[in-house]
Every structure is written in structure tokens, then in C-alpha cells.
């Protein structure tokens, strides 16, 4: 059941001297939480700006909720909430006043706006701080207020640019949980960009990896790791007491069935295999007389996907 709400077709944005977004094709379905991942300067923000019609694409097409973002930005912006990176508020206004202003800009009357603002403030858990000046808000509170600001227009899609930036780990957890529950309860489509992988990993249905304006891969985390690491689905890391024994062990580990790659780095051994060979590896090391100090079966998370991609690709693109 795919019901595309955001469609990017051959989207390209060139600035003088470089290409920020390069021939991007992506479809995001209604109700999804999509994570746009990539290092700084990968073109995530530019892509988001084009989705909102704030920047014109050099070529290609963006449509959000069935409207062309470049031609009908107002219609898109009525249905889309956008939380910019490092969002700002009028600091001498209270949180509530800031929200009322946003609601008024969305065409609500003052009374409606006030009711709405109170509603969303309660939703994001800022009700106690409603009458506090926004300038006095902590960073985490500001992001919550930003989320309230996004929700006040009853959006169908919310786009969050680096929502977790600069918040402490606990605040990040709370914020992500809030985003997740909002998306699930109200059927909101969420697009969030980040360069923090494990934070986003937990709540995203799908992620897209973005480097130098190109979408390198997208899908959910399991399929990503499967496709990326199909040749070498298991990696076992072992550490022995000394460097010499590690070097000697390399050959004997190659004998184990399924082992595809063994590399020694100091006293650390990195074994890539087609099956889970951790037991055999441990036995082989112990039988060779070496002291096994540490053994870890790696599971691929987004971190590794990230590493895998960015270490190599960034270099090759650079």
C-alpha cells in the first residue's frame, strides 16, 4: 500500500561552483517516518528547502501532498510543517504568543489561534512554560516549542531539519519519542534529517543515505545492511594478548569454513565471514595457545552502514 505524499523526481540544484543536490529521486509514503541521513553539507537542507518551495530547483520536480512545491508553495506550506535547523523565536514574546502568531499567519482568528496554541503546548509538554519568554527557554524546550509551532497548522507532513542537534541525550530521547507518537497517533508523515545515526535509527521506518547531493541508498535498516553487507554479513572482532600471536593466527583463521577475510591490526583481529563463526574462531584462537582477551560479534547498525558508506564514498567523491 504505497501512497506517495512526497515525490522528488530527478531533482537537481546547482550553485555556482558546485552541485548541492544531484539528480535525486525519492518517494515518501503517507504515514512514514523517513530519515534523511548524511554528513554536514550533503545537501539535506537544500533538498528540504526545495520541498517547501523556498529554493527553486535547477531542474527536476518536487511535489508534496500532490502540489508542485515550486509552482504552488502556498498550498504546500499550508499542509506542511517545517522546523528549520536551529529554529528561532521572538525572544521577547512568550512561547504562547509565538505560537499564536504562527497560527494567525496560517489564517486562524485570534481566538482560534489561542485555543490551538494552548492545545499544542499541552501536547508537547510545554504548558507550564507557556507564559515564559521564549528567550528564556532551554535548547530542548525551544525544540519542543518548534515542534508545537509545526503542529499548530494541522499539517499532513512535518519536515524536521536536524531536530536533535544540540540537545542532551535524554532530551533527544524524549523529543524522538514525542515525534514518534505524534506520527503514529495522527498519521503524520515525518521527514527528518540528521547526521546522528543511532538517534534516528530507533524511530525511522526508512532512511536514505545522502552524500554530496546523491542518495546512495535507501530502505529500512535491515534491508540496507543486507544489501550493503551481502558479501560479508558477519564480522567478528577478537583481541589477543600480543601482536605476534595475532599475526600468526591470521592463517589459521582462514582455514575456518565460511571465513572470507581476516585482517590483523596490532593485537586486534577482524574476521569477516559468510556465517556466524564466532564459536569456531574462539576455539581456534584458544587452541593455538594464544590468550583470547575479547571477542565481539558485530551487528550492523546504522553506524556501520554510515561508516561503510561515508568512509569510502566521501573519499571517492572528494
Amino acid at each position: 500500500m504505497s501512497d506517495p505524499i512526497i515525490e522528488l523526481v530527478n531533482l537537481t540544484k546547482r550553485y555556482p561552483g558546485y552541485t548541492a543536490v544531484d539528480n535525486l529521486n525519492l518517494t515518501i509514503n503517507r504515514g512514514e517516518i523517513f530519515g534523511l541521513l548524511g554528513p554536514n553539507g550533503a545537501g539535506k537542507s537544500t533538498t528540504i528547502l526545495m520541498m517547501l518551495g523556498l529554493t527553486e530547483p535547477t531542474s527536476g520536480r518536487v511535489s508534496v501532498c500532490g502540489f508542485n512545491s515550486t509552482r504552488e508553495p502556498i498550498a504546500v506550506k499550508q499542509r506542511t510543517g517545517y522546523l528549520p535547523e536551529d529554529v528561532g523565536f521572538y525572544e521577547d514574546y512568550t512561547g504562547l504568543e509565538n505560537l499564536v502568531y504562527t497560527a494567525c499567519l496560517n489564517g486562524f482568528s485570534r481566538e482560534e489561534a489561542r485555543l490551538k496554541a494552548e492545545g499544542v503546548l499541552k501536547r508537547v509538554g510545554l504548558w507550564e512554560a507557556a507564559t515564559k519568554k521564549a528567550g528564556k527557554y532551554s535548547r530542548g524546550m525551544r525544540q519542543r516549542l518548534g515542534l508545537a509551532d509545526v503542529l499548530i497548522k494541522d499539517p499532513e507532513v512535518i519536515i524536521l531539519d536536524e531536530p536533535t542537534l544540540g540537545i542532551d541525550p535524554r532530551g533527544v530521547q524524549d523529543l524522538l519519542k514525542l515525534i514518534h507518537s505524534l506520527s503514529r497517533e495522527e498519521g503524520l508523515t515525518v521527514l527528518l534529517s540528521s547526521h546522528h545515526l543511532h538517534q534516528v535509527q530507533e524511530i525511522c521506518d526508512r532512511v536514505g543515505l545522502f552524500v554530496s547531493g546523491k542518495l546512495l541508498a535507501h530502505g529500512n535498516i535491515e534491508t540496507l545492511s543486507q544489501t550493503l553487507f551481502s558479501n560479508e554479513p558477519f564480522v567478528i572482532e577478537a583481541r589477543v594478548s600480543s601482536r605476534d600471536t595475532a599475526d600468526k593466527l591470521v592463517n589459521s583463521l582462514y582455514q575456518i569454513d565460511g571465513v572470507l577475510r581476516v585482517t590483523a591490526d596490532g593485537n586486534k583481529l577482524d574476521v569477516g565471514s559468510a556465517r556466524d563463526a564466532s564459536a569456531e574462531i574462539a576455539r581456534a584462537i584458544v587452541e593455538s595457545g594464544a590468550d583470547l582477551t575479547y571477542l565481539l560479534k558485530k551487528e550492523y547498525g546504522l553506524d556501520d552502514i554510515y561508516d561503510h558508506y561515508f568512509r569510502e564514498k566521501v573519499e571517492s567523491y572528494a
Partner: protein
């Protein structure tokens, strides 16, 4: 009426509760909300929401209140000198005698400049103060990209800001002038004639256009420069350039290109007109030309008059229509300069890429 409001309230409350206890949306539900969205209750257009907020911000700001205090004080000061001068000396000039009330705005005993001179001096400062951080401070605070993400046209923002500042300036000038008139009325006890009143209103109009020029210039700088301080300083330097250095330059040019004392009258006339054209670029010159003519009905020409032109004229004040005709080029020039500044600011704002800070 009461029942209508209560049903409205109930409806709103229902909407409000719906927001709080939201069920998972199915496709139909989303589709239905999308349809409902269109005939939304449009009691306040977003444009006027921005204008309202900007006016409120100006009125509450320290900057504006300091300017008001400054203008109020100078206004009272010049009024005081005008009134004391008037009661002491009386009217010597018969032609002016009929327009005693206008002297409240132009009269001075030399210790304090007159009200019009104060306006021509402080007006630019007011305009610059109201506009120099219009766009860039929003950008630096990170509110511009949030504002742009709302369903408003991009030009709403710059238009609303210019309009709000203009409204503030207009109300303030009108109030100040009416205050001067009111106090003058009490102090000198002479009623203004309709013509005098109209002349004063025209003066207020010209002052507003004059301040609007500086306002739009500083809005232009606020779009171009990221730092409010840079924008403010640029505005102030343009102002200083025109008030001090430009006059010096014109003097130098005049001295160099002055015709010899033996020159024919046509040459002298040409030279005079040339200097006048040079000075005509300066907004404050345009303003003071326009206000002098409007407030001193005896001024018959802003350029040189030859003896042949003077022959047979009756030394009487000009009617308002003629005075207006006389200052029309000046006023047009001011309006044009204002519009050019605004157009430049508008275009460069529309082309600007709004990135989060």
C-alpha cells in the same frame, strides 16, 4: 449574536478536543481534513497579522520610544521659541501676517532651529531606526525561515514591514503636528484658517514621504547586509554624506565652475540651475524646499528669477494650489527615490535564498 458566539466557541472547543484526542487517521479522514481546509474561517488575513505584530513591536521597542521622546522634546522646544518670538516681536511682514499660524512651524529666534529643520534633521534618523534591522534581525534570530515556512507569500513579509513602519511614522507625525497646532492654538489664541490647516497637512504628508525614503533605504540595507550594525551604519553614512559632504562637494564644484563676474546673465542662470540640479539630488534639500514653500506662502519660486519675470508681480502670498504646483517636482522626486529604494529592497529580498541561520 451571543448564541452565535457560543456555538462558535463550542465548535472551536470540539476542534480543540479533537486535536487533543486524535485517533489514527485513515486515508479518508486525511482527505476530508484536506477538503475542510479550504473554507477556513478567514477572520484575519496573514498580511495584517504581520502588520499588526510589526506595529506592536515598534511601539513597544525602546528604540522607537527614545525617538518619540527626542522628537517630542525638539517639537516642544521649537514650539516654545516660536511662541515667545511671536508674542515678543509680532508680525513685521504684512504678507506673512495672514499666515501667523504657519509660523509655529517655521519661526525661530536663532537659538533653536525651527520645527521643520528639526524634522529634516531627525527624520532620517527615525527612518533608519525603524528599518535598519527589518530583515536581517529576523534572519539572525532564525525566525525568518520559520516565517517563510508559513503559508504566506514572500513579499508579504517585506511589504508588511514597510507598511507597518510607515503607519507608525504617519501616526506619529500627525500626532506631533496636531499637538503643535493644539498648543499653539492655546498659546497664541489665533485660529488657523482652512488653508493653513491644509498646508500643515501637506507638510505632514511631505514629511512622511521624506521619512519613508530613509526607511526604505534602511530596509534595503537590512536586506543586503547580514549584520544590523552594518546596515545601520550604512544608512547613517548615506545620511551624513548627503547632509555634510555632498554640500561641501557642491560648494567646491560651484567655486570651480562659477562663471566670471563679466559673464552674460544666461550663463549665470545656467550655472545657478546646474547647482540647483546638483542639490536637487539630496533628499533633505528636496524636503526643505518643499516644506518652506508649503509653510511660507510668500515663497514664489525655488529657482532664480530674472528681473523680467519679476516685473509686475504683486507681492502677495501664493494660494495653496500654486504652492503645491511649485513643490510638485520636489515631492515627485522624493516619492520616486522612495519607490526606487523600496523596489530594490523588494527585488533583492525576493531573490534572496532564505536559509536557516
Amino acid at each position: 449574536m451571543i448564541s452565535m458566539t457560543t456555538t462558535l466557541e463550542k465548535k472551536l472547543k470540539a476542534m480543540h478536543e479533537e486535536l487533543l484526542v486524535e485517533q489514527p487517521r485513515t486515508r479518508e479522514r486525511v482527505a476530508s481534513t484536506a477538503k475542510e481546509r479550504k473554507p477556513r474561517l478567514m477572520t484575519q488575513s496573514p498580511f495584517f497579522a504581520i502588520v499588526n505584530k510589526e506595529i506592536a513591536d515598534h511601539v513597544r521597542s525602546w528604540r522607537f520610544n527614545v525617538m518619540i521622546a527626542l522628537l517630542g522634546l525638539t517639537c516642544l522646544g521649537s514650539l516654545y521659541t516660536a511662541v515667545t518670538n511671536m508674542t515678543a516681536g509680532g508680525s513685521k511682514d504684512e504678507a506673512e501676517g495672514a499666515f501667523l499660524f504657519l509660523k509655529l512651524f517655521t519661526m525661530t529666534d536663532g537659538t533653536l532651529p525651527s520645527f521643520t529643520v528639526f524634522i529634516s534633521f531627525l527624520g532620517p534618523l527615525l527612518g533608519i531606526a525603524l528599518g535598519f534591522d527589518a530583515i536581517n534581525s529576523e534572519q539572525n534570530r532564525g525566525t525568518l525561515s520559520r516565517l517563510m515556512a508559513q503559508p504566506v507569500h514572500r513579499d508579504y513579509i517585506i511589504n508588511a514591514k514597510a507598511l507597518a513602519a510607515l503607519i507608525v511614522v504617519s501616526v506619529m507625525f500627525l500626532a506631533l503636528s496636531l499637538m503643535v497646532m493644539g498648543i499653539g492654538l492655546i498659546r497664541i489664541g489665533i485660529l488657523p484658517t482652512v488653508e493653513e490647516f491644509m498646508r500643515i497637512l501637506c507638510f505632514v504628508g511631505v514629511s512622511i514621504v521624506y521619512v519613508a525614503f530613509w526607511l526604505n533605504l534602511s530596509i534595503l540595507f537590512s536586506v543586503r547586509f547580514r549584520q544590523p550594525a552594518t546596515a545601520a551604519l550604512s544608512g547613517i553614512s548615506v545620511w551624513l554624506f548627503f547632509t555634510i559632504f555632498y554640500q561641501l562637494l557642491v560648494n567646491v564644484v560651484a567655486r570651480v565652475s562659477a562663471p566670471s563676474p563679466m559673464a552674460r546673465p544666461e550663463e549665470v542662470l545656467q550655472f545657478q540651475q546646474f547647482i540647483q540640479t546638483l542639490l536637487g539630488i539630496v533628499p533633505s534639500q528636496l524636503f526643505s524646499d518643499a516644506t518652506t514653500t508649503l509653510l511660507m506662502p510668500s515663497v514664489r519660486s525655488l529657482g532664480p528669477l530674472t528681473m523680467t519675470q519679476m516685473v509686475g508681480t504683486i507681492p502677495s502670498p501664493l494660494p495653496l494650489g500654486q504652492s503645491l504646483l511649485l513643490v510638485w517636482p520636489q515631492v515627485t522626486g522624493l516619492i520616486a527615490a522612495t519607490l526606487v529604494c523600496f523596489a530594490l529592497a523588494y527585488v533583492s529580498f525576493m531573490r534572496k535564498e532564505i536559509r536557516p541561520r
